[in-house]
């Protein structure tokens, strides 16, 4: 499975790379260099989040997490996770660290999916910092309003499928 995912991704990289290289080798070289720099800059932050979330999960008392957003917490747990996701400010390091810690310390998968979905859809920082300045504000508010059911729908689908 892992091997197939890796293989597929690198086939895509090669195909796209050839397409870019056909437009010019300098363009290709510059693009690859930029992407590698981007990758190297991301490593410390993501490594910190991944490793940190493991410790946070272990340090957190499980009897605090499980009743609230554990697998048995049902739609109430989904609602709590959705509120938590919408209230989380900060970039992906913060959002994913909290979500991973919650999953590792006994949070249910549907609840964690609701958290990630809500955080993706409503992150106040992104709404105010990016979306409102670049879009008509009526569209932004309409989008936010119609997005309210979405974390619940994603969690319900995960519950019905019993996955992940």
């Amino acid at each position: 499975m892992m091997l197939a995912v890796n293989l597929f991704l690198w086939v895509v990289v090669v195909v796209l790379g050839v397409m870019v290289a056909m437009r010019g080798t300098d363009l290709f070289r510059e693009n690859v260099r930029d992407s590698i720099i981007e990758f190297l800059r991301l490593i410390p932050r993501i490594a910190l989040g991944v490793i940190g979330s493991g410790f946070i999960a272990d340090a957190m008392p499980q009897d605090l997490i499980i009743p609230w957003i554990g697998p048995q917490s049902g739609m109430l747990g989904v609602a709590i996770a959705t509120l938590g996701g919408a209230a989380t400010s900060g970039g992906p390091v913060v959002g994913f660290s909290i979500a991973a810690a919650a999953l590792k310390s006994g949070g249910g998968a549907p609840q964690v999916i609701a958290y990630v979905t809500a955080w993706s859809l409503f992150s106040i920082q992104r709404l105010i910092g990016w979306e409102i300045p670049s879009m008509p504000s009526r569209v932004v508010w309409l989008r936010a309003t119609v997005s309210v059911p979405l974390p619940f729908l994603a969690a319900a689908a995960a519950m019905l499928l019993h996955r992940p």
């Binding site: 890796n6 991944v50 979330s53 493991g54 994913f96 990630v116 670049s134 009526r138 989008r143 729908l153």
Partner: protein, 181 residues
């Protein structure tokens, strides 16, 4: 198109670092060295396994940015309406890499050339919940492929639902979406 440089360390990363350090010390003191290193080892292993995928994600992002200029995306999405419009908006947002600094201007642009707000909503929602770039580069190292693939699978209908709800709301309440902010 110049990319916005991300600082390797910022304020919210500092907070994560601080809480992680306290948690690490807590685990070490409360449960001992062995447990501490067991957690450390398994997370480093997870992260190491995801590194090739993260690199692939960064490279694909760079190539697609070059091959699929945002003017083209705006024209592609802006020209279609109906359910096909929602489908194209959803699909292009999945493959379009980049952060909010590329996505919102594109959505704004195709609103400007006549796409309806429902299409823009589907586009933004798709980028938020289905975008491969963030899933590959950010989410995978935290959760591993099984969780991420299932999360994406249950989220596939969401952009359509948001787009259709948006259109229904516009019709039901006779909202004026084309007036200036």
């Amino acid at each position: 198109m110049p990319r916005r440089r991300r600082k390797p360390f910022d304020f919210s990363t500092a907070i994560v670092f601080f809480i992680s350090a306290i948690s690490g010390v807590t685990v070490y003191l409360r449960e001992g060295q062995e447990r501490f290193f067991a957690i450390f080892r398994s997370d480093v292993l997870l992260f190491g396994n995801m590194l090739p995928k993260m690199l692939a994600g960064c490279l694909i992002g760079g190539f697609v940015t070059l091959l699929l200029p945002r003017e083209l995306v705006a024209r592609l999405v802006g020209a279609e309406s109906g359910l096909l419009g929602l489908l194209i908006a959803t699909a292009t947002a999945v493959v379009l890499p980049g952060g909010p600094f590329t996505i919102y201007p594109v959505a704004g642009a195709f609103l400007g050339i006549g796409a309806d707000a429902g299409t823009a909503i589907a586009f933004i929602t798709s980028w938020m919940v289905l975008g491969y770039n963030r899933a590959l580069v950010w989410e995978l190292p935290f959760f591993g492929p099984d969780f991420v693939l299932w999360r994406i699978a249950v989220c596939v209908p969401l952009p359509f639902i948001a787009g259709i709800l948006g259109r229904m709301a516009i019709r039901a309440f006779a909202l004026q979406m084309d007036s200036p902010r």
